[in-house]
Amino acid sequence: MDILIVGMGKLGYKLAETLAGPEHNVTVVDVDEQALARAVNRLDVLPVTGNGAQLQLLESLGVKKKDLVVAVTSSDETNVLICLAAKKLGCPRVAARVRNPEYAGQIEFFKEQLLLDFITNPELDTANDVARYLLRGYSSHLESFAGGRVGLFEVPAQALPGVVGRALAEVQLFQDTLVGAIYRSGEVIIPSGATVVEAEDVLHLIGRREAVTALIREHSALGQRHVARKVMILGGGKAAFYLAGRLLANGLSVKIIEQDEERCNYLAAQLPGALVICGDATDLDLLQDENLGEMDAIVSFTGHDEENLMLALLGKQHGVGKVVAKVSRSNFVPIIEELGIDRAVNPVLISAGELVRFIQGGQIASLSLIFGGQAEVMELVVLPDAPIIGVKLAEARIPPGVILGSVVRRGQVFIPRGDFIIQAQDRVIAFCLHRQLPELNKLFYPKRRGLGHELWFGRKGSGQPSAD
């Protein structure tokens, strides 16, 4: 696909990083030469300096022949303008980032009247993600596939009895579900039957949704539905605004602490159900006065990563059940979760996931970036001429780093074992380390590249250590 990305901020970069590769031709536009230099030195993309909203520039880049234009500059208005211009110049699909809450009500108008195909709002997506987490039980539901039939859940290994210290193949619990990925000290492992579970592991279970839910509910020591009732949000930015709205709608009690008086008044006016406290979120006395220790959850959404981290840890220390911190640098997500913070959310990763899901649309029905982008879970519809059809999985030479989690055939969910044979039209949910993506594609897409490509990959695969 020919893709034009305007704006090389964090989101633009993450998006380019995810998309650039043999499947897509990515051109990136920004006014900032340094941002472009950073991208072009690390990614296989074409950099163009200039204002992406300029018709002349868009035309000279051949926007008519592009398959997609994504506008992710820092300004909402510019993004909408870029998309409008691209659409009028003949680009079939356009997507924009629009983050101002005041435009949230007119998203449908943007889509219908201004012909924007997709709009992402990182703060809204982040708020939704956190809300989903707070409103669920201990083990968190991450993603649904195949129209909700298949679910992906995250469970700490210790929460399940008789799992720690044993190889996955020996564990009786995992009859109807499958461990698709293990998260171990900052690294993602795509396990095999012989992988031994360690105490600190976080397991990612996939399978028929009811089966996984039942498994967690029946066996997990901590699996009772435990919903946070009292939530304190530190910092009153956009994400906080959206989150408070969602939580209030679900009947939770919400307390927001925000320093800026004007902002406080705005929040109080817009969110009548919430208690807005005007003060410094890092002031411990204030937090204690506001009963920090009695909260079921605190969410630190201030503008500084360090503050968020410290406040979340402080919450943990005071016995708050769930602490969530916003992190603006995606690489830090794994480290921060290791420090004992229940959930570190990164708006860029969440938004990039949403955009990639929209972009891959056709072939890959659903995709999510997990673990800071190290691995992907995707739903593929098997094409009639895919190489994997008709071969027993044990003999299909599935590379290490790839696991087929579930297969949905005519509405039924299967956990594929070694003797399973894939048919055309099956929906396959696969886990894959990001760098093994080309290998996975080889199984599902008919060969179409030249001998040189084959030689290179063939050679490259031969001596490579399997788990690094």
């Binding site: 020919d2 043999p22 051109t27 072009v40 993309v45 040189g452 490579q464």
Partner: protein, 482 residues
């Protein structure tokens, strides 16, 4: 440093080199040159084994960084040159390894300087191999690797940047593999066209290939002992060669623009304009200087001046006349042209016109600053503001180039040759021109130098071809420290 992965890429590079050797093998077989065939086959064996060994070295991780990219490019050039010298030695055509290495480096860096006096006595296969090296080195051996083995990871751009000539590399498609493929397609088409054109002027087929490789790769090896002087009465050949050298000195990205129908953009390109302008001015000045003194007719004068200017300016180094006998003014102009070279993104060597353009604008800005110290005057080339990083890079390149030239001249003067010979030998190798004045003039070649000087000049050729910084970076001790 991820040695495993560097070794792996270098192994692939050697395998490609081994595969390319089948062409001269075929030629030697056709001409019944037994010694050469054996030499080539032995070299292919060595290349194959080394290549297979290196490409199976286990790598710690599949990630390449900028440091590895630089290592790949510089080590790649050295290793490929080393192995390119093998067939010349093993076939017995060039008994001394230092001589063979000099020829191989001279070939790959498109210098065209030769230490051989009896070129015509070489087996045809070896003769062809020497010139094929020009062709491969012209557009770049790693660009070729990028084109046919499309995955060097994302580091491909770093490799491309280090190998392609000029301050700002032209990546004109989103994926580097596609850019490399387009460049090689244009390059191949231009070469094919020129082979046919040269053949049409009455040169035999094999020699047509060799001359076209030398011209389009801006190399300068010919199949004759006296460069191209023996053919200088063949007017169509002179015109075809001069034209192909000029065409090869143009940024190949501009040909892509032409194919895309962007005429205006090409015509308004300031580097192209300056390149053509300098060529025209030099031809005019030399013609006026030569007319009546060296050549009698206007036609002959302009033809000789044009040929020699194209040859030196594009750093090819073909000589249609012994220009060492020309008046000092003409020689001075040719010497100055050695420091200019062709355009960025072409196959030519030396400083490149665009660097001259940027430097001139910087100087102009400094002069303007004397009058208006507060004036904001960005350096603008082709309507685009050059970032200060690029400007600094260009200026320091120029300074370093002059410093290396001065030091190199000093080293060569130890040979006991006169200063002009020492200076032009350094300029001709550092700038990948291949021909100088005096002891290294059109008739003399580099045969008279000692083995130490030959190795030193080989180093200068590689230094010039890779545009100084990558090779110097690899030589700095910091490069190897983690």
């Amino acid at each position: 440093m991820n040695f495993g992965l560097v070794a792996r890429v270098l192994g692939n590079l050697l395998l490609i080199e081994g595969a390319v050797l089948t062409i001269p093998v075929g030629i030697s077989l056709y001409f019944g040159e037994r010694g050469a065939v054996i030499g080539f086959l032995l070299s292919m064996g060595v290349l194959g084994l080394t290549g297979l060994f290196l490409s199976n070295v286990p790598a710690k991780s599949p990630r390449l960084k900028a440091r590895e990219a630089i290592a790949i490019v510089t080590l790649g050039w050295v290793i490929v040159s080393f192995f390119a010298a093998l067939p010349m030695v093993l076939s017995g055509a060039v008994p001394s390894f230092v001589d063979a290495f000099f020829e191989a480096v001279s070939g790959l860096t498109t210098t065209g300087a030769t230490v051989l006096t009896q070129v015509e006595a070489l087996p045809k296969g070896v003769l062809f191999w020497r010139s094929l090296l020009h062709w491969l080195g012209g557009m770049g051996i790693l660009v070729l690797t990028l084109a046919i083995l499309p995955t060097l990871g994302v580091v491909g751009f770093q490799v491309f940047k280090a190998e392609s000539p000029g301050p700002t590399p032209d990546k004109f498609t989103p994926r580097i593999a596609a850019t490399s493929k387009i460049l090689y397609t244009i390059y191949t088409a231009l070469t094919a066209l020129m082979v046919v054109a040269v053949r049409a002027t009455g040169v035999p087929w094999l020699e047509s290939f060799i001359l076209a490789f030398g011209a389009v790769g801006t190399g300068g090896f010919t199949p004759f002992n006296d460069s191209i002087m023996g053919w200088s009465s063949n007017r169509p050949l002179m015109v075809v060669l001069a034209a192909s050298m000029l065409l090869a000195g143009v940024n190949f990205a501009l040909y892509y623009d032409l194919l895309k129908g962007r005429w205006k953009q090409v015509w308004s390109n300031s580097e192209l304009r300056l390149y053509l302008g300098i060529t025209l001015a030099a031809v005019l000045a030399i013609s006026l200087n030569l007319y009546g003194r060296v050549y009698g007719t206007i036609g002959e004068t302009v033809r000789q001046a044009w040929f020699q200017v194209s040859s030196v300016m594009t750093t090819t180094g073909y000589s249609s006349a012994d220009f060492d006998l020309w008046p000092s003014f003409s020689k001075g102009i040719l010497f100055a042209l050695m420091f200019i070279g062709g355009s960025a993104g072409s196959t030519s060597g030396s400083v490149k016109v665009v660097r001259l353009l940027v430097t001139a604008k910087v100087v102009k800005r400094e002069i303007a600053h004397v009058l208006h110290p507060q004036a904001a005057r960005p350096v603008i080339v082709n309507g685009r503001v050059m970032s200060s990083d690029v400007v600094h890079g260009v200026v320091s390149f120029l300074l370093l180039y002059i410093a290396v030239f001065a030091l190199g001249s000093l080293v060569i003067s130890l040979e006991g040759v006169d200063l002009i010979s020492a200076m032009s030998a350094t300029a001709a190798t550092l700038g990948n021109v291949g021909v100088g004045f005096g002891a290294v003039g059109p008739r003399a070649g580099f045969a008279g130098l000692s083995a130490a000087s030959k190795l030193f000049l080989s180093f200068l050729m590689l230094l010039g071809r890779l545009e100084l910084f990558p090779l110097l970076a690899v030589l700095s001790p910091n490069f190897w420290r983690e």
